[in-house]
Amino acid sequence: MSSVKIELRKDQVDKIRQIAKTFKNDPGELINVLHKCQGEFGYLPAEVQEVVADELKMSVAKVYGVVTFYSFFSMIPTGRYPISICTGTACYVRGAEKVLAEFKKQLNIEVGTSSPDGKFSLSCLRCVGACGLAPVVLVGDKTFGRVSPDGVKDILKEFEEM
């Protein structure tokens, strides 16, 4: 998984320590600690994982293992408008791949990355339970159904900075 390199400020390190402390620095609480940290930072850069590992007295490799196992955790900062394209079976057979390709083309970014201005990020998910509307695209908490490659432009337009 690729990541962004950042420097943590002292107050940010303290914040992680404080979170770890609320879970009594118990390695068994790793997932909860990571969850809170992601709430704080929006994502889990390598530097945050290092501090978490230090606080819970476990190896960074193990922490990274957990971060990469759960799709909920991300090492990439999400955009202000995270775009998720459903590539579950129903959406897939109704052309989700082409919709995804169009998003990639329009935004000029890959899945799992965000646009340089931090506005959009792109990810795939499997089935949101709205197969009747396939192919489905989520932008933030807004749902778009029966999306065609031609419709991608219109969707992006809706999020032009107000």
Partner: protein
């Protein structure tokens, strides 16, 4: 002990409660195949992720097949280990694993010594249905100074992870990602070289396939041996002679010192020397350092750093540089025997035979993979020319001997060359846990008390327990000694020192189980401690048979000091035989 009654393959048996189906079957001679499962009984290590599913069996009344390595027996169970359903499932599992595994067995480093290959042979797999449609997972090849990670060949058995985390507490490896991308890797999937890896090689020692292998410098050694402008000398570590024979079918614990020397001469080395010579030198330096610190301590110096820790084991050095950098001033500054040898060879010996440093090539035969990294450390080179040029493992030497058409078994015994081939019994026991500190004690006792040792053997320092301790009476002073092998055990002793709870004066640490005899470069022992015990016994036997058994009585060592070094810990000795350590904990992750 509570017993349970069950039936396996038609046999009624009674076995202790709480054991697995696999073990119960084994107790009546039924060998259910396992792949990811590993038990290193005497090291208290068991790897049973139940992940590969090769060991599945049919349990009457259960809907699903049960993995026998991780399912406990229950009262009244009726188990079929070779029903059609179980056998079909086993075969399908293996076919699926093979479908995502490279088929380059002919040229794989593990060929002939691969658990996956053995399983394919055992189950008689002749084709992999659907291979032409199978997706193969591929990863970047990661080459470090000692170890190569080729994760295309990883079957996710997680044995390496168990050794790295549970036994060594190094924490360099973990399972990361999920599904098809799942792989065993260092944090952030960076290279091993940038992780906290100590290169102990225990992961390589347990890897069932060619996913983890050592960096092999044999080709470099072969080309230097064929370069007429070079004088090539070789040194052999003590543990090698106690295990090399196993590669030629000899029983574990067969000493092959004489044959090994003969073989090395036939391979074309100009001088066949012994790392043990440098081990004696290590004792002179490290023993003197220990006595200096102890004398200061006994004279009431409060700042003296005690306990003193040994520094011969390169994986251990890497370990404390990564994990306990604040304690850098506690270990002895003495270089390891491998490096002392190289340093003296390229100065004293090169001068003696009138060969220029750059024309002298030093090769080491080591039971160890961390030695490959150690000899590449910048501080052990002069103007870019390393003190030790190449380090090859016991296993690699065995391959080399076979490749060179040498009939090892028929070789006559030969002796090491002089002067750097002469050694004492104290040096030989460096190869096993407890040996370095016993060797140091023999010398320290006699130098400190100026009396002869009443008994040379210190039985109280020997054995295979992970952490041992002994008190040695040195003329009324109780010298408290601690010994640990395995880095997890070393960590416990270090945590005590850190917390100010340690009462030891001196501690010996070796990274591998049993010490160097169980090193990452040795013939694979598969966790069988009988093999380790046999090797240790061989080492102590060689010690007992030596005419000289104390380092400070080795005449060639005394001559070296007289002609060249002066005194132990002299300025020259300091320059050539001592080192300093680095803080590697702050090394930034390179993503």
């Amino acid at each position: 002990m509570d017993l349970v009654k069950l039936n396996i393959d038609g046999k009624n048996i009674e076995v202790p409660k709480g054991i697995t189906i696999h073990k119960a079957a084994k107790s009546i001679g039924i060998d259910i195949p396992v792949l990811c499962y590993m038990e290193l009984k005497d090291l208290n290590i068991e790897n049973k992720p139940g992940g590969c599913r090769i060991c599945v069996v049919e349990v009457e009344g259960r809907r699903n097949l049960a993995p026998s390595c991780s399912t406990n027996v229950e009262e009244g169970m009726v188990i079929k280990t070779s029903s059609l359903r179980a056998m079909n499932a086993r075969r399908t599992v293996l076919e699926l694993i093979l479908s995502d595994h490279p088929k380059d067995c002919l040229i794989c480093a593990k060929s002939g010594n691969c658990d996956l290959q053995d399983m394919a042979i055992r189950l008689g797999v002749r084709k992999i249905p659907g291979q032409e449609f199978a997706e193969m997972s591929t990863y970047r090849l990661d080459t470090s100074p000692s170890i190569i990670r080729d994760m295309d060949k990883c079957i996710l058995c997680r044995r390496c992870e168990t050794m790295c985390n549970d036994f060594q507490t190094v924490g360099a490896l973990s399972a990361v990602n999920r599904g098809f991308q799942a792989v065993i890797a260092p944090a952030f999937e960076m290279n091993l070289e940038h992780s906290s890896c100590t290169y102990c090689g225990q992961c390589v020692a347990v890897c069932p396939t060619g996913a983890l292998t050592e960096v092999d410098h044999t080709p470099d050694v072969i080309s230097t041996l064929n370069d007429p402008t070079k004088t090539v000398i070789v040194q052999t570590a003590p543990a090698v002679r106690a295990a090399l024979g196993e590669e030629f079918g000899l029983a574990p614990g067969t000493l092959v010192t004489g044959k090994m020397v003969n073989a090395l001469r036939r391979l074309g080395f100009n001088y066949v020397f012994d790392t043990d010579f440098a081990a004696d030198l290590t004792i002179m330096e490290e023993g003197t350092e220990m006595l200096n610190r102890l004398t200061k301590f006994l004279n009431g110096d409060k700042d003296v750093k005690l306990p003193i820790l040994t520094s011969c084991c390169p994986a251990w050095v890497n370990f404390f540089e990564h994990q306990f950098p604040e304690m850098q001033d506690i270990p002895s500054t003495a270089r390891s025997p491998q490096q002392m040898f190289g340093s003296i060879a390229k100065t004293y010996f090169a001068d003696k035979i009138g060969v220029k440093r750059e024309d002298l090539v030093v090769v080491s035969i080591m039971p160890c993979l961390a030695k490959k990294y150690e000899c590449q450390r910048e501080e052990f080179s002069v103007d870019g020319n390393p003190d030790v040029d190449f380090s090859i493992s016991t296993r690699e030497l065995a391959h080399f001997i076979k490749e060179a058409n040498i009939n090892f078994m028929e070789l006559e015994n030969e002796d090491f060359d002089k002067p750097m081939g002469e050694s004492s019994g104290a040096a030989v026991i460096f190869g096993t846990t407890g040996g370095v500190i016993e060797a140091a004690t023999r010398t320290a006792y006699e130098i400190y008390t100026k009396k002869e040792l009443p008994k040379i053997d210190f039985e109280e320092l020997r054995g295979l327990d992970g952490i041992r301790e002994a008190t040695i009476d040195i003329d009324g002073f109780d010298l408290k000694i601690g010994i640990a092998h395995g880095l997890g055990n070393a960590r416990k002793l270090l945590e005590d020192i850190k917390a100010g709870k340690s009462h030891y004066h001196a501690i010996e640490i070796m990274a591998c189980p049993g010490g160097c005899i169980g090193g990452g470069g040795q013939p694979l022992h598969h966790g069988d401690s009988k093999i380790l015990k046999a090797r240790a016994k061989a080492i102590y036997k060689e010690d007992a048979n030596k005419p000289i058994r104390k380092s400070h009585e080795n005449p060639y060592i005394l001559e070296l000091y007289k002609e060249f070094l002066g005194e132990p810990m002299s300025e020259k000795a300091h320059h050539l035989l001592h080192t300093h350590y680095f803080d590697k904990s702050k090394k930034k992750f390179q993503i």
